[in-house]
């Protein structure tokens, strides 16, 4: 599904190049549940952003479903992203001005899905996540765990093949964290590929594979 070949990412500061990622090559197959680990500043988030097409490497090649992401046009890339990738954030990043229902509905708007279809899709997912009763609340009326649940609901409502999660449990207590991880496991079992960045060994264990990053290099696979 994903092939990274010799990816380099650096920032210029003055005459120096600060390398964030060095020579990363990686294969991820459909249905995998990959955990990326590493200390702060090791390049985990940058790698995730590259995978999520929000950032571009300075060198290297990136194939997503056999398409060369870096060679296609901006518009096609954003179509590709929209169709196949869902993103889950550490800080949830719900839109404060929208209710739970509306937050979950928003991606469907960008997918141009009809109103009646949107209704049934959102209703399904609310039901599945057991948050029907919360649908008219605003994000600041929810606990962190509930917000993250909404965040995941929003990420998977478009049935993406791949979920990228950036420390999804980082802001949660351990019980809430466990619930979220269980949810990821279930999703993975249903066939969704998941790549998460995490600090926690325990959470990493939920995955089928762990990638360790140190100073921008992959330690062991």
């Amino acid at each position: 599904m994903i092939q990274l070949k010799n990816i380099f990412r650096w920032y210029n500061s003055g005459a120096n190049r600060n390398f964030v990622l060095r020579d990363i090559s990686l294969d991820i197959k459909e249905g995998e549940f990959v955990s990326i680990m590493g200390p702060s500043g090791s390049g985990k988030s940058t790698l995730l952003h590259l995978l999520g097409m929000m950032d571009e490497p300075n060198e290297g090649e990136y194939l997503f479903l056999d398409q060369s992401v870096l060679k296609i046009k901006e518009k096609q890339r954003s179509e590709l992203y929209k169709k196949h990738i869902g993103f889950v954030f550490q800080a949830y990043h719900l839109i404060d001005e929208l209710t739970v229902y509306e937050n979950i509905e928003t991606p469907l708007l960008y997918h141009g899905i009809s109103s009646s279809e949107r209704k049934s899709m959102v209703a399904d997912i609310l039901d599945r996540f057991n948050i029907v009763g919360k649908k008219d609340l605003f994000p600041n009326q929810l606990s962190g765990g509930q917000q993250q649940l909404v965040g995941i609901a929003r990420a998977i409502i478009t049935n993406p093949k791949l979920i990228l999660a950036d420390e999804p449990t980082g802001n949660l207590n351990s019980k809430q964290g466990e619930e979220i991880m269980e949810l990821f496991k279930t999703l993975n079992a249903e066939g969704v590929t998941i790549i998460q960045v995490t600090h926690s060994e325990k959470n990493a264990e939920y995955g089928s594979r762990i990638i360790n990053l140190l100073d921008g290099r992959i330690e062991k696979v």
Partner: protein, 793 residues
Amino acid sequence: MLSNYLKIALRTLLRNKVYSFINIAGLAVGMAFAILIGLWVRYELSYDSFHKNGDRIAMIRKHNLFNHEKTTKIAVSLPVYDEIKTNYPEIKHVTRADWGNFHGLKVGESKFSKQGHFVDPDFLKMFDYPLIQGSIETVLKNPRSIVLTESAAKAMFKNADPIGKIVRVDNQHDMLVTGILKDIPKNSSLDFEFLMPFEFSIQSNEFYKSQRTNWRNNFLMVMVEVREGASMEAFSAKITNLIKIKTQNKKLGTLFAFPLNKWHLHNDFKDWINVGGRIDDVRLFGLIGLFVLFIACINFMNLSTARSEKRAREVGVRKAIGSQRKQLIWQFLCESLLVTFIAFIMSLVLIQLVLPLLKDFGFQHISFDFDNFPLILAALGVCIITGFLAGSYPAFYLSSYSVVNVLKGALTQGNKGSSPRKILVVTQFTFSIALIIGTIIIFKQIQYAKNRPLGYDPNNIISLGMTSDLLKNYQTLRQDLLNTNMVEAVCKSSSPPTAIWNQWDSFSWPGKDPNVVQIFSVIQTDFDYQKTLGMKMKAGRGFSREFATDSSAAIINEATLKIIGFKNPIGETIVLSDGDQDKKLRIIGVSENVVSQNPFSVVEPSITFFSADASGDISLRLKENVDVRKALKSIKTITNKYNPAYNFEYNFVDEEFGKKFKAEDQIGALAGIFSGLAIFISCLGLFGLAAYMAEQRTKEIGIRKVLGASILSLWTLLSKDFIKLVLLSCLIATPLAYWFMDSWLQKYSYHIEMGWWIFILASFSAVFITLVTVSYQAISAAMANPVKSLRTE
């Protein structure tokens, strides 16, 4: 999708009430005034546009060369009409017209004073003043006919049919009502309540009769309509030298056709060139209206971008869940359109509230009609354009955020977007300060003209006008008035103290250059003119009954003395060539320059000479400290006795003089309103920016306080940036305003010099207003408890 955008927009608005208020209030005020100005401009542009054949109508006007000065006049001589009527086949219609004076109209015992023109029958055929009753071919055919407007007829005849009834005019002539006109539209250059045949004034007036072949005496208007397909320019060129050809005298001026569509807005001439006129005001205020709106838009942009960090996360999230930049741009544009639409609705309310207050500033005929569909559409157009204009910059700016940066929280704070923001603030304040400077200068100029020495004392003078009855009974009237013991002096003269109706070029004196046509303002008067006006003399004396020879005496003003150049003018003689005979006028006095016409112009040379048949006006001076109401009552009784055809009408000369400031007072008041608005809207924006800045720098302020900064130093720190911007605006505004106002002042031959203090005062007040606006935020931020602010991070 749209409903999602609108929902977000509404909720964002409600969440940030202060910002929303500043945005909406600023835009509403800006839009209300832009629309008001638009209405005013539309009204001004609509003048005379209702004449179907308007593009073929023109007035014959005349270029003169007097006193080495090129002037352009409206009055032409009587033979011009006959000549054009008979010898110019390209002319379809031609009419004469007098100036449109008030006349006493009497129906039975009811008396009315109405304004009307003497015109030729062609008048109604060329202009679109439709008749309700009567036929266009016949209403003005009989010299003894009168055509009334609908409301004049209604006032005079109530509900009776006026056609065929008799109206007695000036207590002398019985005229037959032959037609009723629709009321004259307010946006008509020619305004009148009745028309009478010009032929009648010729038949009844010996002076007119004597002028049939005199090309020198210019006292009426001639208007023409060229035939379909004929060229106005060609006609205008053809008549250029008409007077020269007819009189063999090349000093009497050249004629040209002045098209109808220029009468109202392009009526100013300088050195024979049509240089504009009211159109300058229309353009100026149109521009100012746009600018005020633009300033309000700038607020919107500034506040939106300043608050962008708050929206940045939303942008990032939306991009992360699949939004394209285009969709975000649309979202923010929708938001700004929603804000402008709310502001638009508010502005419509505001317009209704403000319109009545603007009645005295030239808006009395302007209204916002909600049933006028194109108008509503145009206003809505303004709204939408404003929405796009105000929303475009924030939309493109906000939507440009990169997801990674935003969601990492690594968005560089403020500084990135602050340069354009600074430019916008400077633009705003430059314009506001320039307006303040302009307003001060306009007010100073008006004050300067109001305070100028008038050369006479306009207080306590009453002008009664003149009628044939009053003229007949003048001596007894005068005696009766003096007998009341409330009147100091009475005189009659050829024009009232606030006007000069005659300008003659037929004076000569020893040493006059025979090649120069020298024109003088002429006032003919009897004894007591100087006493009644309280005219101040530089030398000599006024006319007096004690000198029998005063019947051939003259008083000149200082301007005349300068031209004539006599060392000792008293006792010298000037000669007035009046037809075949020369009249010798002995100078008995030199008066100060009396400001009787335009208070913004240099006083023209004038000669006041004694004439028993001066018949333009009666003025009287009340004694000091008399009860004006009582005096008016006695004057009314006496005047009514000798003037039975007219209702008692009078003017206080000081009030009449005050009316000459109307146009300038209007401009001054409008400029005041606009600069007030501009500074208000700018300050609203500044207030918002200051609030935002205080919020942004909460942490910095907290740290500085912990390190021991005083409130004063924090206040300075927070205000400094804004003061710098405003000072920069002052620097830019000063030369701009100087250049602009200099050209404005050049319109007036009597004008102030712009002192530097004006610019310093304007800059100082701008800085002061800025400080007041910013300080509230700065001080409350400086006073905040640092523990609290540091904990929030």
